[in-house]
Amino acid sequence: MALTGNHHHHLRLSPPLPRTLAPAKTPRSLRTPRLSVAASLAAAAAAPPAGQFRVDVLSESLPFIQKFRGKTIVVKYGGAAMKSEALRASVVNDLVLLACVGLRPVLVHGGGPEINSWLGRLGIEPVFRDGLRVTDASTMEIVSMVLVGKVNKHLVSLINKAGATAVGLSGMDGCLLTARPAPNAAQLGFVGEVASVDSSVLRPLTDSGHIPVIASVAADKDGQPYNINADTVAGELAAALGAEKLILLTDVAGILRDRNDPSSLVKEIDIKGVKKMIEEGLVAGGMIPKVNCCVRSLAQGVRTTSIIDGRVPHSLLLEIMTDEGAGTMITG
C-alpha cells in the first residue's frame, strides 16, 4: 500500500488496515515533551499511525461526500463481481458505506451464471441462436425464479448482514418497470425492453434509508414476464430517479483506446467523443451496448455515467470517492 501525500491517487481501502505503517505525520502525543521512560514512548509511537492514516483518508473524502450527499447512485452489478465471494463482499461493503454517509445507492442486477446452472439442474436444454440465448416460456419461468427468488434475495441478505437494510424488488413490484418485447423478440423469445418506469415505489424506501435491490425482470401490460438486459434497466432507472451517477460494473478496466495497452484507459470522455470512438472501431463489440446504454441515460439527464472494473476490490469507492476513478466516466 503506497502512502502518498495526496490520498487521491490509487488508494486501496481494505477493511483490516495493517498496523505496521510508517507514520505520515508526527503523532500529536509525541510533539509535546514528556518526562516518561523510553519504553512507554516507543509504545505510544506504535499506536497512533494507523489511526492517523484512517482519519487522513476520511477527511480527504469529505469533499466527495459533500458533493454527493443525498444524491442517488444507480449501480449495475454483474460479471466477475457477481461470481467471486470476495468481490461480492467488497461491493456490498461499499454500498453499505455509501448508504451510511448519506448517498442513496440503488443496486440493479442481472442473472449471469446462475440461470445456466439451474436450467441444467432442471434438465432444460438451453437454445442459442446466433450466439444469443433464446428465452422461451419454460426458460423464462426459470429466469424469473432464479433472478427474483434466489439472486435478488441473496444480495438482500448480504446487505442486511453488512449492516444496512435492503429491499429486493423486481420490475413487477409497484409497477416499477413495464416491459415491451424487444425488436428481436421474434427470434429470441421473451427478451424485453423498458417501456416505462414508475419510480414512485422507490421513493419511500430510499427516504427511509433502505437500499433497493432490483432484479431486471419485468412484465408487460398483459402480465407476461420478460427478461430485460440489466444494463438497460439500470440506465432507465437512473433516468427515472434523476440519478447523479450511473455505474456499470464490468469485467474490463473500462474503455481502452488501444485494446492491447492497459495504460491507454480513457478516464473521461463526453458523448461526442465516445460516439467518435465507436465510429473509429475503438470500442469492442461487447462494450458497445453498454456505451449506448450510458448515452441513453445521459440524454435523459443523468449527470455522469461510468463503466468501471468490477474485478478491482472496492472499485465503487474508488470511482465515487477519488478523482482517479476506477474506469471510464462518460459525461454529457
Binding site: 423498458v194 416505462s196 418506469v197 434523476g242 458523448i271 461526442k272 445521459l298
Partner: protein, 226 residues
C-alpha cells in the same frame, strides 16, 4: 496586391467560406465600400477623411461574407427548444463567447419522430405526448447568428431523439426599456462580444455620406501593420 485572410470575430470560428473576409490592400485610394447592407469598414492606419487621401495609406476592401437570410434584417432571434437539463451547459457556453442576453421559458412539446419514441425519465413517449422542454430565446445581430447556432448545437446535442429544434426569426428592432435606445445601441450589451473582442486598434472610418464611424479591428498578424 497583398491579401490577408482575416476574421472580424475570432470566436466565430468554423471554417465556413462565407465567414472568411478577404482584405485587399491596394495602393489606389478608392473610396470606402459599403457591404452587408449595414456597416462600413475601412481599414487604414490613422484617421481617414473621405477617400481622396493621396498618402501611402493602404486601402482595404472588405468583402461581404455575412450569410444570407430571408427575410433580411439586422437582428435575428434564435429560438432554441432544448432538453431542460442541457440549459446550464448551453448558457455558460454562450456567456463565454460573449452572448449576454438570454430568455428561457418552460414549455411542453413533441416533434415528429417518424414512429420512433422519445425516452424521458426512463419511459418511452410516443408522438402525441407532450414532454417538458425549455425554450431559449436570444436576439443577436446578423453576424453573430451562425456562431450562436453552432454553439447551441454543440452543447445541447446528445444524438438521441428529443434533442430539440432551433428556429431563426427576423427582428425589426431592439429597444432597451431603461434608456430607450434602439437598434444597434439597444442590442449591444456591456461585456458582450463587441467588448470582448475589440483590440487596441480603433479606427475612424467615414462612409460616402460623410458619417463618421468608429471601427474596431482585430489584428491577426501582429507583424503586419495596417
Amino acid at each position: 496586391m497583398a491579401c490577408a485572410n482575416a476574421m472580424a470575430r475570432p470566436a466565430a470560428l468554423p471554417a465556413r467560406d462565407r465567414q472568411l473576409k478577404e482584405l485587399a490592400f491596394g495602393a489606389s485610394s478608392s473610396p470606402l465600400l459599403k457591404f452587408g447592407g449595414s456597416r462600413v469598414r475601412r481599414l487604414g492606419g490613422g484617421k481617414l477623411h473621405g477617400a481622396r487621401n493621396a498618402s501611402a495609406l493602404p486601402v482595404v476592401r472588405a468583402e461581404s461574407s455575412t450569410p444570407e437570410y430571408f427575410p433580411d434584417a439586422k437582428f435575428y432571434k434564435v429560438e432554441a427548444i432544448l432538453r431542460p437539463w442541457r440549459i446550464p451547459q448551453v448558457s455558460s457556453a454562450l456567456l463565454k463567447m460573449g452572448i449576454r442576453g438570454v430568455t428561457v421559458s418552460d414549455v411542453r412539446g413533441f416533434g415528429s419522430q417518424g414512429g420512433s419514441t422519445e425516452r424521458q425519465a426512463g419511459s418511452e413517449f410516443s408522438e402525441d405526448k407532450f414532454l417538458a422542454k425549455v425554450k431559449m430565446e436570444i436576439v443577436v445581430s446578423k453576424e453573430q447568428v451562425e456562431a450562436v447556432i453552432d454553439k447551441i448545437i454543440e452543447e445541447a446535442r446528445t444524438g438521441e431523439i428529443g434533442d430539440g429544434k432551433i428556429f431563426l426569426v427576423p427582428i425589426s428592432d431592439v429597444i432597451r426599456v431603461r434608456t430607450g435606445e434602439r437598434g444597434d445601441k439597444g442590442e449591444r450589451m456591456s461585456g458582450g462580444q463587441t467588448d470582448m473582442f475589440s483590440t487596441s486598434e480603433h479606427l475612424q472610418v467615414v462612409d460616402p455620406s460623410g458619417k463618421l464611424y468608429l471601427a474596431s479591428v482585430t489584428r491577426l498578424n501582429p507583424s503586419r501593420s495596417f
